[in-house]
């Protein structure tokens, strides 16, 4: 699993403006990945990675099969509250 590292602008060697721009881009990338993960966009990628880590030979669900399977699991227990 990978994470996007966001370093403080002051720690970089590039000119100040460029360093700031890179820092902002990295921060935006991190936010974007966070939103993707929060809403479930990256769930299939996580699933493939987990299956590959656990076993060499796995039969993977297709993205559509995984999507339906995930929803069925998620909505068969309380997941929205009062």
């Amino acid at each position: 699993m990978h994470s996007v590292q966001v370093e403080a602008p002051g720690h970089m060697e590039q000119p100040h403006a460029l360093a700031l721009a890179i820092w902002i881009i990295r921060l935006a990338a991190k936010l974007w990945l966070g939103i993707r993960e929060w809403c479930g966009d990256s769930a299939y990628e996580r699933y493939v990675q987990a299956q590959r880590t656990n076993s060499e030979k796995v039969s993977l669900l297709t993205p559509a099969e995984f999507y339906v399977d995930r929803l069925n699991r998620r909505y068969s227990r309380p997941n929205r509250c009062c």
Binding site: M1, H2, S3, V4, K30, L33, G34, I35, R36, E37, W38, C39, G40, D41, S42, A43, Y44, E45, R46, Y47, V48, Q49, A50, Q51, R52, T53, N54, L60, L61, T62, P63, A64, E65, F66, Y67, V68, D69, R70, L71, N72, R73, R74, Y75, S76, R77, P78, N79, R80, C81, C82
Partner: protein, 706 residues
């Protein structure tokens, strides 16, 4: 040097919080600015999180980051997914934040702003957050087991069964009452009804897109969906302005109730990807947007709180619901301070995704603080309108009258001046035919939100758009609770039915799906219908019933937590759960007793039934209304029976727990803690479970379907 500076900062935060709380509590006379509420709440939350939750984490639970969590032990990319703590915080908050913290404080504003605000803050800090945090911890240590399973293992078999029954009971009552909130918000409102109805085809469209066109691409589909929903909010105005279309979407309470019942059945029985899940995506985005917008709006506008700190209705004579400040302020606030339902989330999805034990503090304790803040914002929005307007919107016609003149005269006589013209003008400004007698909290909250939003963007010209945006936002995520809850209830009914006849438990068996869906929808639909036809407005009976069942489930969760802490030999700190548990038992028992036996017909179910029966005997009810009145009498007796069963359940559970505690403390029998065995984590210390990048394992995945 760092430590003294930190100490000074925390002393300042504590003093500012204490000062703001003091200002709220002792201010009299001129209206108070909402900033006081925001500052008081924020400072209390900061101090509570920094010190109280840290104390619980270190001393009571001794969280251990060297221990592998369920997401590491069972990482399967499906249920058990190691998740970054900020993202899991978002998941957890989206799951626990429902309509309760918006509606409860709005209704409790009838006592004035003070009691509700104090309980929202204190209740969350000392009870709600503690419950969520400890149950999350208990579930993490038990491989993500549910509250019912934990209760069965740690308290007793019967305790587990009671917890499961309590969950089913709360689910049915919850769904009935939130459906009633929607009905009262939509009745006679073609704009709001069209907007909400249009979200159904939008959700279906999204469902098909996500299933066949771009499987799992939730973000892009949600953008499309949210844009369409915002468009139909505006388009609703054109529908309301067209006489022929307005007629189609102007529906009575009873018609709306049956429409919701049909919707609930369809959402439960249809494949989850078609309607339920896409609606949930829409709701999650709009919920997040609306809550952040409300927070920003309050900070920018800083409205004056016009409601007095205490109203004359603390004596129990309130028009919105009957009952004295104790215990009904606590029962009515419910989810914003402590919610039993949260224990289902804390022992459901979240423990299976948590990365490290220490994250339980931020997610369990922190997310509940945020929910409490939503409750405080709802209280501000409700109290920022003139008290006369608040009471006119939330009181039933049987108390204030059905016309503007009658309502204005009655409410003014209570000491809250109101002009009839004010209500007519306000209704016109928000694009409604009337705002009178709209009990349920949603319309008054929408008026409050619309006034705050329109003071920021658009001015009075956009008041009607903001009002209908707020109604859509509330109704949309109430519908999400309704369809997700109905589906989960269906599974519970199928599981129970499966004990009698095994094929019934098969979740893919169509007759089982249809029968169980009909049973669960019929159960909450009955409560909804009785609320719609109730002459006292429905909310008066059903919201306290919901509050009692919710707080009862919280008491169940705290009984389980206390038992586990005793088994962990944390006797010295047992008061942390024992005091909130005792408090909840006292308020639920007192409220249950009063709702069943109080001689005031507006408060006591049995005395209301008796008074109606006496009217029939005395010939005061016209012949054509006798059948309806007898049905109301039956409903009151049914509500009394349901309340009595709920109270009996908690008494049995407490007796079970006391026996278990006696055994633990007397060392009569060695107590067994059912934690999973310690397994050291293999993850490096800096592993954050941060967002996965597709490039890491772009696989030869099977071809897409469709």
């Amino acid at each position: 040097m760092k430590r003294p500076i930190s100490m000074v900062i925390w002393i300042v935060v504590a003093l500012v919080g204490a000062g703001a709380l003091g200002g709220i509590a002792f201010h009299r006379g001129e209206p108070l600015n909402a900033t006081w509420f925001v500052v008081a709440a924020a400072c209390c939350y900061l101090v509570a999180y920094r010190f109280y939750s840290a104390f619980i984490a270190a001393r009571l639970l001794t969280l251990d980051d060297t221990r592998a969590t369920p997401s590491e032990r069972h990482d399967d990319g499906r249920d058990f997914v190691p998740t970054n703590k900020w993202i899991l915080f978002g998941h957890h908050f989206a799951a626990i934040a429902g309509p309760g913290p918006l509606v409860g404080p709005t209704l409790a504003a009838q006592f004035g702003y003070l009691p509700g605000t104090l309980w929202l803050i204190a209740g969350a800090v000392f009870a709600g957050c503690v419950q969520d945090f400890i149950i999350l911890f208990c579930s993490i240590r038990r491989d993500g087991k549910t509250l019912g399973e934990i209760a069965r293992e740690e308290v007793s078999q019967r305790g587990g069964f009671i917890a499961q029954l309590a969950v089913l009971a709360i689910m049915v009552i919850l769904l009935g009452v939130v459906a009633l909130v929607i009905v009262n918000a939509l009745k006679s409102s073609p704009w709001a009804t069209f907007t909400l109805a249009a979200t159904i085809p939008i959700a279906l469209l999204l469902g098909l897109y996500l299933r066949f066109l771009r499987p799992g691409r939730v973000l892009e589909a949600s953008f499309i969906g949210v844009a369409l929903v915002l468009f139909v909010v505006v388009a609703g105005q054109w529908v309301a302005d067209s006489p022929s279309w307005a007629h189609v979407f102007t529906l009575s309470g009873v018609t709306l109730a049956f429409a919701l019942i049909a919707y609930g059945f369809a959402a439960s029985a249809l494949p989850v990807w078609l309607l339920l899940a896409p609606r949930d995506y829409l709701s999650a985005f709009i919920k997040a947007g609306a809550i952040f917008s409300l927070a920003a709006g309050i900070l920018l506008v800083r409205p004056q709180v016009l409601m007095p700190p205490l109203t004359r209705f603390i004596d129990g004579s309130g028009p919105v619901f009957a009952g004295k400040i104790f215990p009904f302020c606590f029962i009515t606030i419910a989810c914003g301070a402590i919610s039993g339902f949260h224990s289902l989330i804390s022992s459901g999805t979240t423990p299976k995704m948590i990365l490290r034990e220490s994250h339980a503090r931020f997610i369990g304790y922190g997310a509940m603080l945020m929910e409490s803040f939503v409750g405080v914002m709802a209280m501000i929005a409700a109290c920022a309108m003139t008290p006369g307007v608040y009471f006119a919107i939330n009181s039933p016609a049987s108390i204030v009258g059905a016309t503007s003149d009658a309502a204005a005269a009655t409410i003014s006589s209570w000491g809250y001046p109101l002009q009839a013209q004010t209500m007519t003008d306000l209704a016109r400004a928000v694009g409604e035919q009337t705002l009178l007698n709209r009990a349920g909290g949603a319309p008054s909250l929408a008026v409050g939100m619309a006034q705050i939003f329109s003071s920021t963007i658009g001015g009075p010209r956009l008041l009607s758009i903001w009002y209908h945006f707020a109604i859509m936002f509330e109704a949309l995520f109430i519908l999400t609770v309704l369809d997700a809850g109905t589906r989960v209830g269906r599974f519970m009914v199928q599981e129970l039915g499966g004990r009698v006849w095994k094929p019934f438990a098969r979740t893919g068996w169509w007759p089982g799906i249809l029968i169980s869906s009909a049973l669960i929808v019929g159960a909450w639909g009955y409560f909804l219908y009785q609320g719609v036809v109730d002459p006292l407005g429905g909310i008066n009976s059903l919201w306290p019933l919901f509050g009692i069942s919710n707080q009862l489930l919280a008491a169940v969760a705290l009984v389980v937590a206390t038992t586990i802490l005793l088994k962990m030999k944390r006797i010295r700190w047992i008061w942390l759960t024992l005091i909130p548990m005792t408090w909840l038992v006292i308020i639920t028992m007192t409220a249950s007793y009063q709702k069943i036996f109080d001689p005031n017909p507006r408060l006591g179910f049995l005395s209301y039934a008796k008074a109606l029966a006496a009217q029939i005997t005395a010939g005061k009810i016209p012949a054509v209304k006798i059948a309806d009145t007898q049905r109301v009498i039956f409903n009151q007796r049914l509500d009394a029976a349901v309340t009595a069963v709920l109270a009996a359940m908690i008494i049995v559970l407490i007796i079970e727990a006391l026996m278990q505690w006696y055994r633990i403390l007397s060392a009569d029998r060695k107590s067994v803690l059912h934690e999973t065995a310690y397994l050291a984590t293999r993850w490096p210390e800096n592993f954050s479970g941060a967002s996965y990048t597709a490039t890491a394992a772009e696989p030869d995945v099977p071809a897409m379907e469709g």
